[in-house]
Amino acid sequence: MAIAQDQPDLRRVIDEEREVEGLGEQELIELYRRLVLLRTYDERSLVYHRQGRIGTYAIFWNHEAMQAGSVFALEDRDWVFPSYRESAIGLLRGIPASTILHWWRGHPAGWWNPAEHNVASIAVPIATHVPHAAGLAWGKKLKGEDAVAIAYFGDGATSEGAFHEGANFAAVMGAPLILFCNNNQWAISTPVAAQTRAETLAAKAAGYGMPGIRVDGTDVLAVYEATREAAERARSGGGPTFVEALSYRAAPHATADDPRAYIDMERVERERENECVGRYERYLRRLGVLGDDLVEEVKAEALDVMKRGIAEAEAEPEPDVGLLFEHAYANPPASFERDLAELRRILGGSVG
């Protein structure tokens, strides 16, 4: 006997040839710009990695619609909590490409101050940033500020206790939080079917007493619409929402990963043919709001951002070892000075 589950169908806009109320031509094109910017960041990063200009890199190809669509539904005062899979989402909030490239280059210039962009640091560990987002949203509510928070995490992350505790705190505190689950159906080599027996990930929402929405994660407009709904609910005191965005990881987990060992590459090929940027581009062309010239312009623009970004990053001098001892504490122990002095003496005053 299995509990009958409420299964909201995948929300779709593009396939239904719908239009999203509230989005004019300008917004539709701005959204396209953002998709292309993310796509370009991702594709260039792969090149830079192969060229040895950045380190290991977590590819987010075909995840752009989830990231651009959801952020587009938020206000600038709303907080974004990315995982490594959303490493470049800060581009949509004015964080320079060079900063994010620095992060992947292992350069401390990859640090940023979350408060300046309302974008938290990139979460490398799985799911432990979910309680952070819940706490921030709760804290804003307690202070009477009407900011919303969104936390990004994957299908695998839903197995972690940290996800569970964060989601429950958010629900209990009525925190204005969007739990955005990027269900790309893989956690490195582990398929979502080995991650949970739930019929859907959205089915977890009921266990927290919050709504769960399922959406086509490769349909940027559906993602936008669902996130906007969740954000409105959160802002109006309705508490958190779990959004399951269904997509497919049509690229390796990261540059170090070789999926051929565990993934059906034909399935990957099919998914790649239907990838999210092209889908949206075709939709806009059908609508007649996008033509070759604009496409070229937008892509050139994005490529330019990346070229300037990598150039800036590579122009940055190597970090000084003194940074080792900075920012571990707002007010550091006396021992740090001694340690640094000794280190400089041994290094002959310079980091070789």
């Binding site: 640090w111 819940a134 706490g135 504490y329």
Partner: protein, 324 residues
Amino acid sequence: MAELFMVEAINDGFHVELARDESVMVMGEDVGRAGGVFRATAGLRERFGESRCVDTPLAEAGILGTAVGLCMAGWRPVCEMQYDAFSYPCLDQLITHVGRYHWRTGGGMEFPLVVRMPYGGCVRAPELHDDSPEAYYVHTPGVKVAIPSTPADAKGLLAAAIRDPDPVVILEPKLIYRTERTEVPEGDHVVPLGKARLAREGSDLTLVAYGAMVPLCERAADALAGDASVEVLDLRTLKPLDEDALLASAAKTGRVVIVQEAPRTAGFGAEIAAILAEKAILDLHGPVLRVTGYDVPYPYWKIEDAYMPSVERVVDAARRLLEF
């Protein structure tokens, strides 16, 4: 000055700090309606409202994890872990995030949160109500650790921790929560982090301790009074450590016995011994001895007295060192 038990002094400190700074809030299991299982947070919910003294769901990692987010929203959360061993679920948040987030933001954001918990043994409780986990916390970069041994210090270190820009873990020796009422300054009272306290002056041998081991060492010093002049150094803050006070005492007496409740291996006492072995080697008249809990799970309470460092064990170590 009022005479208060340690746990009363902590409660007093909370009332002062929450009244002083609107961004200070208290959160944890049973801290609100019940005022804490040891009454450390009694009266806060009634006085400051349920949003500044929050009964949380039963989830330690969730408590500390949301506290990180609360800091990002401008709060100064003080998290209670109900008992020492029930803080282990929050170790991941502590090591992975609490100790790194300020660094991760390039110093851009501060995480002035406090984690406090009753800790230590000899309270005749079922298992996991008696641990001394300080070594886990001290070894973790980015967090500071304080352990009071008197009511006045318990209040003053709590205030210092709440006002500190960095995360601070405070371990409160529950064994002496209500053993003695001593004078506690009223109102504002801050004991700076990083300063040890000379609990007793002496010239022949130094007992280095913290928490509930301090009064124990004082009793041991009494027991030795006839034969030797024993100094008792109460570290008060384990990190940042008052190395000057430690080295000064070692230089003065040349003999050091370190007393800690926690299991010996890789306990905090080892760090004290290591510092002495590096920086006081020429001052030492003999070995650096440790009197500690044993390298076993904290025992069932019928035999916990034998597990805990006792006056007899401290005196025995001191005599061996004096006769070395």
